[in-house]
Subunit: 388 residues, 2 copies
């Protein structure tokens, strides 16, 4: 039976070449005191930093640069929250990819809380308020620009948490596909793998509405086709535009309303991996995907492979044996876009696999019995070993 | 090239059986003085009126019943705005189908305006504020529960206007598929035809993103399959649920972001028809659909028929001749779900066809040269004559 659901996404998307010109009117809705957040400096290389500074001459801008991939609670979130409090910030302007956006969302709530911010991120305390956040996206991947989630790592605890809260929806997301022209082949591939995984996580659920199956297949097809175009021709506007837009849709929930609980098991596993080893999220997911699929393949899950096989690869699936061909096709696809498909290539060996399995079961309830397929400790270890 | 777009839908969907229980907490966000609006009384027949009154014991409720199909500016909108002003209404609770919702959206803005409300609906004056609106949907059709449009008829002017304004998004839409179990076969079919048409209007555009093509095809497939189940078994929860959800998606814009201007030509024609003859909107659209398709079929539009033919009917389209088979298949589909496919069956003859064509060109700019296919007066007359 179709599941009950609650759905809302109040974020406004402003999409197109040159739409950055709307930034001053957007920020003016919230005030003049802006915390500008960004990552390692690519926004300076592509001229975006200067353009924004020039557009925002009438604003008072404070800055937090250097936000890390797999953004860290300490120092980034802590420092950002301090800057907001000390400078009475009206609005946070996050310019970058998912890491910068996620970090800024966490800053937005921590800045409005007097206690230890990690209590909010880890779910111990419920946030009551957040500073408004606006973003300018430079990487098509996580979908953070169109959702209310933020994934934050706490290095001291080897913990990586997905924090979900309606308070942290961006108010506006400014999406200009030309900002992604200079994204490296590797990051383009990893971003696409991330978005594909967002779709696949929710595709593997029961029930899955027919309309959702069709929309999710369509998103996957689009990602798989357009990433190849973008890898071949990095400044192909239409390919970059469709990648950017589909990445936004992929993590938003709109493709899976009414579906059963899926539990995001591949993300649970990957969050442990990147908490322990700080690897690129999309690469980790691509490596996990075929191994997780092999683990959960059964008569119960077969119908999911039937649809994916037919629609994505033209593979007819009549039984479990056939489904292995679909799994292999995913493996080859990820390999074909340049993702290393073994953890060993990322310098990860089996030393901490059991520790990671324990970590997943301790911190993540998303692989439990209420989900599409339950994963126990042995299953998690099997998957991680196969990933090596 | 992918078109620039702005997209936002702040409406929250609360979906499932029994979700009406959340109504008091939802309305409490806005205040205690409620204008309850509804149509011809079906909400009393299914017990929903009593249930709402019982749930809202702690609220002060004022009522506007008897809202017409193709809701009228005068008396319904005028009367509703007067009630809001005189009683200092905090929130409008619309319970019904698209007509009740549209009328309530118009009331929401007119109640906050001191001049003649029609000036706002007709676009002469820009609204500055609106009373918050919450709805409980009882008919899967128009998608008004998830968009910011309202179609209002002004009988005195033979005018039917589509009013679009971000101010009139519902705050919350409460969607319980069981409320649609008692919808008649005819209204179930017409509601589905309406939603199908919303998808088809935007499907016929250039460019159309591949991801959008896939999502739109998926929506059409779902509507066409589930309407048959619901006609056969009116209390099939899953079929009613998927119809309700897809109707909400169909008019929301989320299926066609980045697509070229389509102009909603079939709606422009139908709005003239129902302004002159007060027919059921979905029936008018079903009648117009194949005739409009015949009119615009050409080498330029062929690729749209290729996709629809293959995905919906298994018809291979290689040329314009083949595309006629797709058009015939749509005709037969609508006929098969019980929609009268000739205007004569709705007691409409050719007397006012020229007048309607003039009306469309005067009031609707959606068939002009900037659109996917331009329709001039002769084309409009041809389409309407074919509909007889």
């Amino acid at each position: 039976m179709v599941k009950d659901f609650f759905y809302v996404t109040p974020t406004a998307l402003i999409f197109g070449k040159g739409v950055i010109k709307h930034l001053p009117e957007v920020l003016n809705k919230y005030g003049k005191r802006v915390l500008l957040t960004y990552g390692g400096g690519s926004i300076k290389k592509i001229g975006l930093y200067d353009e924004i500074k020039s557009l925002l001459k009438d604003f008072e801008i404070f800055e937090l640069g250097g936000i890390e991939p797999n953004p860290k609670y300490d120092p980034s979130v802590v420092e950002g929250a301090r800057l907001c409090k000390e400078n009475n910030i009206d609005v946070i302007l996050a310019v970058g990819g998912g890491s910068t956006l996620d970090c800024s969302k966490a800053i937005a709530v921590c800045a409005k809380y007097d206690g230890e911010g990690w209590d909010i991120i880890s779910g111990k305390v419920k946030a009551k308020d957040a500073i408004p956040m606006v973003d300018v996206l430079t990487l098509a991947a996580t979908g953070s620009e169109f959702d209310c989630g933020a994934v934050i790592s706490n290095t001291a605890l080897n913990d990586k948490r997905g924090y979900v809260d309606g308070l942290i929806f961006p108010k506006f997301s400014i999406l200009d596909p030309t900002y992604t022209f200079s994204v490296s082949k590797y990051q383009t591939a990893c971003g696409t793998a991330d978005a594909m995984n967002h779709v696949l996580e929710t595709f593997f659920s029961s029930p899955s509405l027919e309309v959702n199956d069709g929309m999710m297949v369509s998103a996957l097809k689009s990602l798989m086709k357009n990433v190849k175009v973008a890898l071949d021709k990095p400044d192909d506007y239409d390919a970059r535009a469709e990648l950017m837009y589909v990445c936004s849709l992929a993590c938003n929930g709109i493709l899976s309303n009414g579906n059963g609980e899926c539990g995001w098991p591949m993300h649970s596993i990957e969050h442990a991996l990147s908490a322990f080893y700080d690897i690129t999220h999309g690469a980790g997911l691509a490596i996990i995907t075929p191994r997780w699929m092999k683990e959960i393949l059964s008569e119960k899950t077969l119908n999911r492979f039937v649809v994916l096989g037919k629609e994505l690869f033209g593979i007819e699936v009549n039984n479990v044996e056939d489904a292995n061909n679909v799994i292999d096709a995913f493996y080859k696809f990820f390999e074909g876009i340049g993702i290393p498909m073994h953890l060993k290539e990322l310098n990860i060996n089996e030393d901490r696999i059991k520790e990671m399995a324990d970590h997943i079961l301790e911190f993540d309830c998303t692989v439990g019995p209420q989900m599409y397929v339950e994963l126990n400790k042995e299953a998690l270890i099997r998957i991680l070993k196969e990933c090596l």
